[in-house]
Symmetry: C2
Subunit: 209 residues, 2 copies
DNA sequence: TAGTTGAGTGAACGGGTGTTCACACACTGT
DNA sequence: ACAGTGTGTGAACACCCGTTCACTCAACTA
């Protein structure tokens, strides 16, 4: 019936919403989400401040939307990784590679999560920690199938999963802080992540209680 | 020659400076250091905004002073712990206990460090990460003397030290976020920390390259 | 004791903030 | 073709911000 070249109402609205999210993400990359203003975001998105309210009730609500979008990226990374056959043969090497590469490509999303996980407003902080808890539980299910772990208590499996996720977050933070164009640093982080995971896995065999 | 009951000039100045630092620490405990204002800090310290400049050139400079003060607390914790003979017989249990107790008592300092390590301004962030790097190196020296580690490469020792410090930071974050008056949660965090350290130590024996 | 120093004052400034409102006007369903 | 819906506008508001300035007056020095 229509859209002869122009944009439908819904399309246009979604486009502006995305522009606001992108603007907030980019601005917060330098100074942190908590200290950017509604007016700055609106300006960067090419929109008047009042228009912001057509999409979000507050900056906090935009922050929550950003959490959602960022974890969607993380989930996609995990899903794609599981399709790769290498992951099952050299789990640790693959995990280190995938981690560093994905974080590098989606730097802004991971920077947002890393930063706001501890520095953000209460609402944003809790949303992120909730997502990370979900992620720990998912990882626990995967770990429970590994040879040396299959008859551990579920408490212990959860503990190990937390250990891995914590280190994943810490390594992601390092990649985020990494200056551009430093493949040496990148390799160093990757190697560090690999060794840490190997050390932890070595402990599996002798674990009791 | 003087101070009949009144305060010397220097004493009074130091007192106000301390009041400003305390005010900033308390205010940032709820909302994060980066989003509190010079005026708020001055008001909380019972001083007019302009007086702030007699002590710090900017909020950033106050932040750096806060980093220094917080790490002095951390160092005191380590030093005290080393005096305790229990630490050498049950290193891991003692470490978990000391960590949780000290963080609980100095909650505001650790909350500041945990939060601003990733969320703060560039200057504050770098100062904290520098202090943490120093701490990793100190720990590496201690670890290098342990039985299973004594002939590892220094790179590997450093890697393990980083793994421990990361987990220490993560556990401190958990204690900080912990609501008051929940000894069950506290015990849970302590037990988790203990298990994670034990798992890592188990890997020491079989480590190669 | 007289003069100097400097921590703290109070008012003022220019500018950025979130939020509100009536309004314009392009896309929408009838 | 027409009325309606709703995204985006631009101006206005009251407020808080960092920073400056001339000032007071107690603690200091000589």
């Amino acid at each position: 019936m229509n859209q002869p070249a122009a944009l439908t109402r819904q399309e246009q609205k979604e486009r502006t919403r995305a522009a606001l999210l992108d603007a907030a993400l980019e601005l917060s990359h330098q100074s942190g989400f908590a200290q950017i203003s509604l007016r700055q975001v609106a300006k960067q998105a090419g929109v008047v401040p009042a228009a912001f309210y057509r999409h979000f009730a507050s900056m906090d609500e935009l922050g929550l939307a950003l959490v959602e979008r960022s974890f969607a990226t993380l989930r996609r990374m995990i899903r794609d990784a599981q399709r790769d056959p290498d992951v099952f043969t050299h789990i640790i090497d693959a995990a280190a590679d995938v981690l560093v590469e994905t974080v590098k490509v989606n730097k802004t999303h991971f920077a947002f999560v890393a930063r706001e996980r501890v520095g953000g407003s209460r609402a944003v902080r809790e949303a992120i920690n909730h997502e990370l808890d979900l992620f720990v539980s998912e990882l626990a299910v995967v770990l429970a199938r590994l040879p040396n772990i299959e008859n551990w208590s579920s408490d212990d499996v959860h503990m190990v999963a937390r250990l891995f996720v914590r280190n994943m977050v810490a390594n992601a933070e390092e990649v985020v802080e990494m200056p551009d164009g430093r493949p040496d640093l990148e390799a160093q982080i990757k190697e560090g992540a690999r060794r840490q995971m190997r050390l932890i896995v070595l402990g599996f065999e002798k674990w009791r209680s």
